[in-house]
C-alpha cells in the first residue's frame, strides 16, 4: 500500500486512489516498426530489483498520469514527476545516483 505524491494536485495519494501503468518512458513503435522493435515495445519490460521508473494515474483523484521513481526492494520513493516528458528530470537522476551507489542509470 504505497503512498505517492501526485505532482499535479499535490495530494499524498494512497495506493487505493492510484492505478498502475507499468514501466515509464517506453517509446511507441508504430506501423513502420520492425517485428522485433514492436515486440520489444509491447512486451519487454525491465522488472529491476532496485530503482524503477513507473507510470501511475491518480485515478480516484485528479485523473492525471504521472511518473514515480521508486525502489522495488526498499520501497523508497525518490520522486514523482509529470508524465509529459520523455526522460526523468536531471535533478532526480542525480539524487538517485547519490543515494544508490553503483546504479546503472535509468536506460
Amino acid at each position: 500500500m504505497l503512498i505517492l505524491d501526485c505532482p499535479y494536485c499535490g495530494i499524498r495519494a494512497d495506493e487505493t486512489e492510484l492505478a498502475p501503468g507499468g514501466e515509464a518512458h517506453l517509446t511507441r513503435v508504430g506501423p513502420e516498426g520492425s517485428d522485433a522493435a514492436f515486440e520489444s515495445y509491447l512486451f519487454d519490460r525491465k522488472n529491476p530489483k532496485g530503482v524503477h521508473f513507473e507510470r501511475w494515474r491518480h485515478a480516484a483523484g485528479c485523473g492525471k498520469w504521472f511518473h514515480a521513481a521508486r525502489n522495488t526492494v526498499t520501497l523508497e520513493v525518490y520522486g514523482t514527476y509529470p508524465a509529459q516528458v520523455t526522460e526523468p528530470p536531471k535533478a532526480l537522476l542525480a539524487a538517485i545516483s547519490k543515494k544508490v551507489p553503483g546504479w546503472e542509470g535509468w536506460q
Binding site: M1, L2, I3, D14, E15, A19, G21, R28, V29, G30, P31, G33, D35, F38, L42, R55, R57, A59, G63, K64, W65, N71, V73, T74, L75, E76, V77, A83, Q84, K99
Partner: protein, 1003 residues
Amino acid sequence: MSARVEGYGRLIDRSKRVSFSFNGKRLRGYAGDTLASALLGAGQVMLGRSFKYHRPRGLVASGAEEPNALVGLGEGGRFEPDQRATTTELFDGLAAISQNHWPSLAFDVGEVNNYLARFLPAGFYYKTFMAPRGAWAKIFEPFVRQSAGLGRVPMEPDADAYEYLYAHYDVVVVGGGVAGLQAARAAAATGVSVLVMEDAAHWGGRAPVDGGEIDGMAPGDWVKAALDALEAADNVTLRLRMQGTGVYDHGYHLGYERVADHSPGDGRPRHRLWRIRAGRIVTATGALERPLAFSGNDVPGVMLASAMRDYLVNWGVAAGRRIVVVTNNDDAYRTALAMKAAGRVVAAVLDAREVVTSPLAQAARDAGIAVMEGRAIAEVRGRARVKSVLVTTQAGAGKAGEEIRCDAVAMSGGWSPVVHLWSHCGGKLTWDEAAAMFRPDPDRAPTGADGAPFVLTAGAASGALALDACLADAHAAGKAAGKGAGGKASRKAGPKAVCEAEAPIAPVWIMPEGAGPEKRMKMWLDFQNDVKVSDVQLAAREGYESVEHTKRYTTLGMATDQGKLSNINGLAVLSQALQQEIPATGTTTFRPPYTPISMGAIAGEARGELFQPLRRTPLHDWHDAHGADWEPVGHWRRPYTYLRAGESREQAVQREVVNTRENVGMLDASTLGKIVVKGPDAGRFLDMMYTNMMSTLPVGKCRYGLMCSENGFLIDDGVVARLDDDTWLCHTTTGGADRIHAHMEEWLQTEWWDWKVYTANLTEQYAQIGVVGPKARQVLEALGGMDVSKEALPFMHWAEGELGGLPVRVFRISFSGELSYEIAVPASRGQALWDALMEAGKPHGVMPYGTEALHVLRAEKGFIMIGDETDGTVIPQDLGLTWAISKKKDDYIGKRAQARPHMADPERWKLVGLETTDGSVIPDGAYIVAEGVNANGQRNMQGRVTSSYHSPTLKRGIAMGLVLHGPDRMGEEVTIPRIDGSEIKARIVETCFYDKEGAKQDV
C-alpha cells in the same frame, strides 16, 4: 473435578459466576476467564483431536499461538469454526463444540489413522493419490473430501455487523505488555500522536506473571501506574482486544479490533478493521515459548511451562496436581516455583543442561524440588491424559530410566521473539547463537517512502527477554520512534528494573539427542497438522533442502496457527538433517495476518445493498414499477425484460422482440457511454483512437466506429457523431464508458500531450431513449416539434430540436435493423420524455423492451456485441469488420499489432452465422468440433459459438460463431456437441439473418 486454586487468579472475579456449555455440557467459570482457562478450571483436559491422526489433544499454550484448542463457537448466524479457546473471552451463555472427530470427542472413528501413522508419512498426499487413474473418483476424492477442512462451515448468514475505521497516527505501538507501555510512554514524551493496541482483554502482558521489580514496584502495580500516565496524556489512544494484524508498504498497518466477541448481540459491530497509516510502528509483541520435541509431547497434559504459569497466576487454575518440568533454560523454573508455592507437587525438574547453578535453579532446590541435570524425557505415558514420564539422559539414545508418575508436564525449549510484524514488510532476521533464537536485525529494517526504517521492535520482540534489558530496549525504541515520526528529542530516562540473572540456554531440538526412529515418530513439531520430527527428516532424505519446500511437503506450519510453535523447531531439525547451520536453512516467510481474522471484518460494511455502489438511470424507478427483471451491467442495473403477469422471462422477451419488429418498442439506452472529444486536434486524435476515419465525418452525421488496444484486439465499439467543427460525441458500450474514457486520457496525457484535445465523460448527464420500430416516426410526430422525416433527418444523421416541448438531440441510428431514433435529453428531463413517448406511443402499441430483446434484435441483424463476439483475443478482421478499418490512415492504435504474423494468419477463426437444422437453440458457449481427437483424447475444435438465441422473427434458433475458414464454407453443416453428449447440426450461413439489404432501418 475443579482445578481452581484458592488465592490465585489475578484476572478473574470470583464473585461473578459465568455459565457456558462445551459439547452441550453445562459448565461454569468466572468473569475474566478465557474459554481455555474455564475449561481447564472445570477439569476438561482433552479439548479436541488432531487433524491427520485424530489424536486426543489438550491445551499447549495460553495465547494466540495455541495449536490444539480450536472450537466451533456460537450458534446459528453466530456460529464460527476454528476459534482458539485461549483467546476467547468467556461470557454468559457461550456455547462451544469440539472439532475434528466423529461421533464424539471421547470416541472417534478417525483415530484409526493414528494406528496407520506408519503408512501416512510426509508427502503422503503426493505419493498416494498419483495412480491408478481410475482410483481418483471412487476412492481418493471421497477420502479427501471426507477428511479435508477443519471445523464446520457456518450455514446461516452472519448475524453480525462489521466496520472499517481509517486512522492516522505518528506512532503505533503493537503490544500492551510492559515493553509496549514503556515504548508508548517514551514515544508520547516526544509530543507525537500514539496508538497502543493490545490483543488481549487486559494490559501488562507476561511481566505480572513472571515477576521482578520495576521502579521499585511489582510489575502489576507498575502497569497500573503506566496506564494512568498514558490515559492522562491527550496524545495517546489505548485499545484493548485489538491485534496488530499486518504491516504493509509505507507504514500501512491493519488493526483487528474484536469489539463485541465477548458480548454478542449487544448492538455494536462485532469486529472493526482499522486501516492505519503510521509514521513509525513499534512492535512490542513479546516472545513465544517453544515446545520440546520428545516422544509423546502431544499427550493432553503436556503444555508450555509459561502457559502452565499463566493458568495458575492469571486464572487460578492448576494444570495438574503432580507435575514434571522439562527444560533447557532457566525460565521454566519460574513455573516449578509457582506450582510448588500453590501447593502442587513438583515431582522433578528435568534440565537438559549438564550443570545448572543459576539463582532460579537454586531457588527450586531450596524449595525442595528435585533438579535432575543432563536429563530428558524418554517417553510420555498416557493416551487421553499424561500418566507418567520415563526419564533418560539428554546425551544418550533414550534408554528409559526412572518412571515418574505425574498428570501434567511443563516444557520449555526456550523463547522465540514474535517477529511476524517486523518481517511482513521485509524486515530481516539474524540468528542469535547464544540465545538460540532468530531476532530482528535492526540494520535490515523495513524501510518506508523516505528510505528510513519505519518498524522498530521493543522488549522481548527484539530478543531482550530479561525484564531489565526488555524495558531499556523498549524505552529506546519508543524514543527513536517518536523522534523518527517528527517528535522532539526527549531526555526522560527509562524505568529501572530488577530481575534474577539467568544462566545461558542450551539449544535442544530433539530430546534425547540420540533418539531412534520409534521415538522420532512420536515427537510432534506441528501439533495441529500432525507433523513430527520423523516427517521433516524424511523430507530432507527425499531431497527437500529448501525450508519453503519442506514446509509444503510436510505441511509443517501450514495449519491455522501458521507454525507459531513449530517453525523454529522444524527448521532446526531440518538443519540438523541437512547437516548445516540454522541460518543457512533460514525461516519460511512471515505473512499477514498474524492470526486468522474474520471474513466479516475483511468485508466490513460491504454486504447486501452496500456491497458496491449501484448506478441508476433517470428511469430506474419507472422500470422498477413496471415489472423490470433486473440484470447487472457494470455497476448499472438494466431491465433484462419487463415481466407481465403470468409470463415467463422467455415469453416476455419474445413479446418485446415481436412488438418492436411489428409496432414500436422503447429502450432505456441511458447507460451507453457518452464521451465528448473537443479541440483543434480532436479529429486527428480520434483517427488514432478508432480504426475508422473520424476526422472526415461531416458535421451532422454519425459513424459506427471500432476501438482497439495497442495489441490489436477489439476493445469497444459505438456510434460517433460530429457535433461541430471541433467537437465529436463518442458513444461507448455500457460497460466501457469509464474504461474508454481512461484509455483516451492515457494516450492524450502520456503520448500526445502536445495535441490540443479535451475529453469529458458525460454519460450521466443525459438520459437516452431508443424509439424503435416501423411506427417510431409516428410516435415522435405525435409528440410534435422538430421535423423527424426521412428528408430532414436521414439515417445515420443527428439533429437538435424540441420534441413535446423538451430540448432533445435525436440520432438516427439503429442497433435493431428497424427504423430507430435515439433521443438524448438532459438527465433531469429523462422521465418527462419517457412519459410523453409512452403516452404518444399508446395508439401504436408501444412497449418498453429490455436488454435481452436488444440482444435478440441485434443478433438477428448480425451486429456484434463487445463481450460476446469479443473476449480480448479477437481482432476486427476476425469479425468481418474490415469495412470499418480505414485503408487511408497511416496509423491507429492497434494497426501495427494487426500486421503481426499471428494476427494475419488465415487460420484464425472467423465470424459466421449458424442456423440449426432442427430449429433448436445452441447452448451458449458451445464448441464446434472437428474430426479426430487431440493428445488429451478430447475432440478437436474448429470453432466456438459466441451468441445464440431463439429468434421469434425467424421462429428458430440462430447463432453466431467463430469458425475455421468460416466465410469460405457457406452452407456447410457442422456439429456442435451439447454437455449431455448429444449433438446439434448447424449450417454455416451469413451473420445477418434479417433484412439483409438494410431497407427497414433506412426509411
